[in-house]
C-alpha cells in the first residue's frame, strides 16, 4: 500500500531542484500544516472504457417506447385536446347545448332549495312557496328583480304572510354574484317545474333588467308591488 503513504509519494529525485531546495521547509511543523495538501491524490482524470453493450439495447428499447407512446398520446398536437385517449378530428366534441332546465335545476338545488325546499313548497310562515303563485309565474321583470337584488318586508303569498329577507343573487354589492345566464336558467326552471307553466326567461332578458336598474339594495315588498302589481 505504498500509494496510501503520502510521504513516500512525494520524495523527489535526490538531485532534483525540489530536493535541493527542500531543506528550507523540512521542518516538521510546516509539513504538518500542509498535511492536507501533501496527502492529496491527483486531480480527477477520465478513463476510456467503452460503453457497455447492453446499455445500447436498453436505450434503444426506451427510445422506441418513447416514440410509440408520444405518437399514441399526442392528441394530434392540437392545443384543444386534453384527453389522452382522444385522437383526431373526432376528438373535439361539440360543446353540449345549454339546457336551461338542467342548469336551473342544479342552481336551484345548490342555492335555493335550503329555504324554498326541494319541491318549491316552501315552509309556511317562514319561506314562501314557489308553486302556484303569481310571484313566480307572473311578471318576469318582478321575478328577475327579486333574484338580482333580494326582497325584504311583508308580503302575502298564497294566503300566508311572510316577513323574511331573500338575499341578493346578482352581481351588485352584497350580492352572491351569479351570472345572468344562471339567473335566467333558475328563473326558467322555477317557472316551469312542479306544475308551474310560464314562459322561459332568457339570459338577455336578465341582462336588460339588470342594466336598466344598476346596483341597488334589496327591494321592499310593497315597493315592488307598486311597480309590478299582482293581477288579482
Amino acid at each position: 500500500m505504498s500509494e496510501d503513504n503520502p510521504k513516500a509519494k512525494h520524495q523527489p529525485h535526490p538531485d532534483s531542484r525540489e530536493s535541493l531546495e527542500k531543506a528550507g521547509y523540512q521542518d516538521k511543523q510546516i509539513q504538518d500544516v500542509h498535511a492536507q495538501l501533501m496527502r492529496e491524490k491527483d486531480e480527477p482524470t477520465e478513463g476510456f472504457s467503452p460503453v457497455p453493450l447492453f446499455t445500447l439495447f436498453l436505450f434503444a428499447i426506451i427510445v422506441f417506447w418513447g416514440g410509440v407512446y408520444f405518437t399514441k398520446y399526442s392528441g394530434d398536437f392540437r392545443w384543444d385536446v386534453y384527453d389522452p385517449h382522444q385522437r383526431g378530428e373526432s376528438a373535439v366534441a361539440e360543446a353540449p347545448a345549454f339546457d336551461p332546465i338542467a342548469r336551473g335545476s342544479r342552481v336551484y338545488r345548490n342555492r335555493c332549495a335550503q329555504c324554498h325546499q326541494a319541491e318549491g313548497q316552501g315552509v309556511a310562515g317562514v319561506y314562501p312557496p314557489l308553486v302556484g303563485t303569481e310571484w313566480v309565474t307572473g311578471s318576469d321583470e318582478r321575478l328577475i328583480k327579486i333574484l338580482l337584488h333580494g326582497l325584504e318586508g311583508e308580503i302575502v303569498v298564497r294566503g300566508n304572510t311572510y316577513n323574511g329577507a331573500m338575499p341578493a343573487f346578482g352581481p351588485g354589492p352584497g350580492g352572491l354574484n351569479i351570472g345572468d345566464r344562471d339567473i335566467g336558467a333558475v328563473a326558467t326552471f322555477i317557472r316551469q317545474a312542479w306544475g308551474n307553466n310560464a314562459e322561459a326567461i332568457s339570459e338577455e332578458r336578465v341582462f336588460e333588467v339588470r342594466e336598466a336598474i344598476g346596483n341597488r339594495g334589496p327591494w321592499d315588498g310593497s315597493e315592488l308591488l307598486g311597480l309590478h302589481p299582482l293581477s288579482k
Partner: protein, 490 residues
Amino acid sequence: MSNTVAATSVQETPYTTANPGVVTELSRIDRSMRGAAIFFLISSVLWLLIGSALAIIAALKAHTPDFLGAYETLTFGRVRSAHLNAMVFGWSNNAIFAVGLWMMARLCRNEVRHHGMLYIAGALWNIATTIGIAGILLGHSTSIEWLEMPKNVTPVLALSYALIGAWGILAFRFRRGEHVYVSQWYILAALFWFPWLYTIAQMMIVWFPARGTVQAITNWWFAHNVLGLWFTPMALAAAYYFIPKVLGKPIHSYYLSVLGFWSLALFYNWAGVHHLIGGPIPVWLISAGIVASVMMVIPVIVTAINHHMTVVGSFGAVWRSPTLRFIVFGAISYTAVSLIGSAMALRSVNVVTHFTHFTVGHAHHGVYAFFTMIMFGSIYFMMPRLLYREWPSATLIRVHFWCCALGIGIMVVGLHVGGWIQGMMMNNPDIAFIDTVIATVPWLYSRSVSGLLLTIGHIAFALNFFWMIFPRRSASAAGPTLLDGKEVSA
C-alpha cells in the same frame, strides 16, 4: 488493484500531485477561495439549522394541527413554504456557491481573483433570502410554489446570483490546461441554466404574468428544473470530482460521462410538465413531459455505471472516508430517486401518487438523500483544505451520517408507503375524504421522527463544523479524520 490504476494515471498525466509544483498551485487556489468559501459554508450551515427547525414545526403540525396553533406567523402554509425556501435558497444555494466555485477554480487551475465581490454578492444573497423568508412568515407569500418569496426581493437575489455565477464562468474562461473535466461541464452548464430558469419564471409568473395555464406550465418547468438543471448537475459534478479524487483513480469512462451529460441536458428540461398530468393543458405537452421523464433513465443508468465502476474494488475506502461515505450514499440515491421519478411520471402510476404524500417523499428523496448528502460529503473534503486543519471529531461525523441516513430512509419509506395507501384510498369513491386523511396520520408521525433524526444529525454536523472553524487547541496533524482510523485521504 487501485494502486496500479493510480500509478498509471500518474505516469500518463504530467499534472499530478506527485509534483510539488502542482501541490503549491492547488494550495494557492484553495487560499484564494478560502474566505469566500468559508463565508458561504457558514451561511449554508446556519440556514440548514433554521430550515430544520421550520421543517420540524411543519411536520408536527401535519399530524397535530394544534401545535403552536395560536401563532399566525407559524401556520402550516407559511412554515412549510419558509422551510422550502430556507433549504433551497439558504442551505442549498450557499453550499452550491462554495462547493461549485471551489471545484471550478481547482479544475480550471486558476486562482479566484477579486474575491471581495463574492463577499458582497454573498451578503446580498443572504440578506435577500432572510427578508424573503421573513416575508413568507409574515403572510406576504406569492403563493406560487418554489417562488413564494415576496416579489420585491427577487431582483436582489437575481443580481447577487449574477455576480456569483459570473465568477464561476470567469474561472472557466481563464482556465489553464488542455482537458475540460466532466465536473466542469456540469458546473458551467448549471451556472447558465439556473439564471435562465429563475428570471423566466419570475417574469412569466410574478412580474408580467402570462395568461391562464401557461403560468402553471412555467411554474412546474421552473420548480422541476431547479432540481434537475441546478441541484442535480452541481451534485453530479461533486460526485464526479470527489470519487476519483479521494480514491486516486480515474473515472471509469469518458464516453459514459459524455452520454450522461448530454442526455441529461436534452431530456430534463421537458420533464417538469408531468406535475400537470390530468390538468387542463394540451395533452401532447404532458405526453412529451412523460416521455422525457422516462428518457431520464438513460443519463441515470449511464451515471450509475460510471460511478459504480469507478468505486468497485474500493468499498473499504468509501466506508472509511467521510467524504465518500456521504457522496456514494448520495450517488446511489440519485439512481433510486430518478428511477422512481421516471415511474411516477407514467399516467397509470401518477393517477395514484399525484396529490399525495408520495410526491413529498420523492422530493425529499431527491433534494436530501441525493443532493444534500453529496454536499455534506463535499464539505467534509473541502474544509481541511481550506483551513489546514482536520475535522475535530470522527464520532460527530458518524452521528451525522447515521442520523441522516436513517432519518431520510424512514422519511422516504414512510411517505412512499403512506402516500401510496392515501392515493389508493382517494381513488376509491366509496371512501370518504376524511378517512383518507386519517389514514395518513401514522405515516406523518414517521416523518416527524425522521425530521427529529435529521435535525440531530445537522446539529452534530454544525457542532463539528464550528468547532473546526474556532478550534480550542492548535491544529494538530495526527492524520485525516477517518471513520475507522486507517490511513486514506479524507
